[in-house]
């Protein structure tokens, strides 16, 4: 980060509340909505890793959800537009690959908004011990509650849905299909 940084906030654990008064660059960037899931903001999605206000403009560091996520380009453009619109000058958007994004970084408010939009939020991301990635044959058995009727059990219809980060499921009670953000 440049030495001219005057404000530096990351989305890791221990983030304090937003500062009073005019919105900070972090608040402006964080409030940009995800183009594929416009019910949640980038901050709620957990992909904004760092926002620094420097003499040279606002330096925003984001991390992709998936390697091939096609929304990244739109997200960059939206961030630049939002920072400019807030009168904070030019934004420089950088990518960071490590640590890799995990659905555990989706905030509580993000999860609530997903559920309200009929998209089941992810559970806890799988934890792996040492050794090879275990092979899973057959449908995963973890319960995913229906976001429509609240029934606790559903079945997987397809492991990939409209985007790489979601799968298609069906409620065993109301029989309505719904999407679920897969844990990664």
């Amino acid at each position: 980060m440049t030495s001219g940084a005057t404000a530096l906030r990351s989305t890791g654990a221990g983030i304090g509340p937003a500062r009073a008064g005019s919105p900070s660059a972090f608040d402006v960037v964080g409030a940009v909505v995800d183009p594929e899931l416009p019910v949640v903001t980038l901050a709620e999605l957990g992909i904004v890793r760092e926002v620094a206000e420097t003499d040279d403009g606002v330096v925003v560091t984001i991390t992709p959800t998936y390697s091939g996520c096609p929304a990244m380009e739109t997200i960059r453009d939206d961030i630049v537009r939002a920072v400019d619109g807030a009168g904070l000058g030019r934004a420089h958007v950088r990518t960071v690959l490590a640590p890799a994004w995990t659905t555990d970084w989706i905030s509580e408010s993000g999860r609530a908004k997903l559920a309200a939009a009929g998209i089941a939020p992810p559970g806890a991301a799988p934890r792996r011990g040492a050794g090879p990635v275990p092979l899973v044959l057959g449908v995963r058995q973890e319960p995913v509650a229906c976001p429509q009727c609240g029934h606790a059990e559903s079945e997987r219809l397809a492991a990939f849905s409209a985007t790489a980060c979601r799968e298609l499921r069906r409620c065993l009670a109301c029989r309505e299909p719904f999407e679920h953000v897969k844990e990664i």
């Binding site: 998936y66 996520c69 990518t95 490590a98 044959l137 990939f160």
Partner: protein, 305 residues
Amino acid sequence: MSFDDAYDALTDHDDDARWAYGTGFSDPLAGVPTAVPDGVDPADLAAYCLMLGDDALVMSHRLQQWVTRAPELEDEMALANIGLDLLGQARLLLSRAGEVEQAGIEQAGFENAGGPARDEDALAYLRDPADFRNVRLAERADEDFAHLVARLLVFATWRLALLDRLTSSRDPVLAAIGAKGVKEATYHREYAAGWVVRLGDGTDLSHTRMRAAVDAVEPPAGELFEPHEVELRLAAAGVAVDPSALREEYDGVLAEVHRVATLPPPPPFEAATVGAGRDGVHGPELVEILNEMQELARAVPGGVW
């Protein structure tokens, strides 16, 4: 936006406009540190990034060809998503290859020092078949859906094992690409294994065809575990993965999938009778892929889409 000219209205006039992967796509490695680890030959590292990137790029293209041809809409979605994951990995790896290649040129003081690095587009669209370093498995055409899932099982099982080990690479970019890719390849393997089981343990007809597919796809896969000299040098330097070390995990996964799918144990690898993709020896199948993939880029060099 003016619609007097529909074509013009679709055009992105950003300075960073690219005609290749999409409109106005920017460097996927923007802001990622570009240093080459100490004691590593940049030419070797660039070659290795090309190998792994070409595997992903060519396999992605083959998967994309299945869109509109898969048995169910859900499978088209799955194959498109898997292809997209691999395309994303390819973009990162080709971008890294171009940067590292240029670092080597600067270091050696060649006459083209100071020039721009070859970017992902130049590497994907302007190389000839003999310059591609993908394993030949990636370029094979699929005779039917059973061949596709058999091939994807082999590819994803091998690549997952590779990416998982790559997470401890001394090259931080490769380590990060590995860590991200592991999460994706886990789903790819699960999808392919699920279909091999479903078809193998299905009707008499599906079993017969699934068995024919694994018998055709698996024996030539020995190439995946034969290390190239670049891989050996970089593995010794703690940067790359020696693919022969992946064999045990691969054998275990394939044996388990075959067992649950009620298929006979995996057939043995056949002795290699053709040149290696890692050395740039490819079949007419890669030429066919590149003719399709590179046609527009070659017809309109530097065109902005």
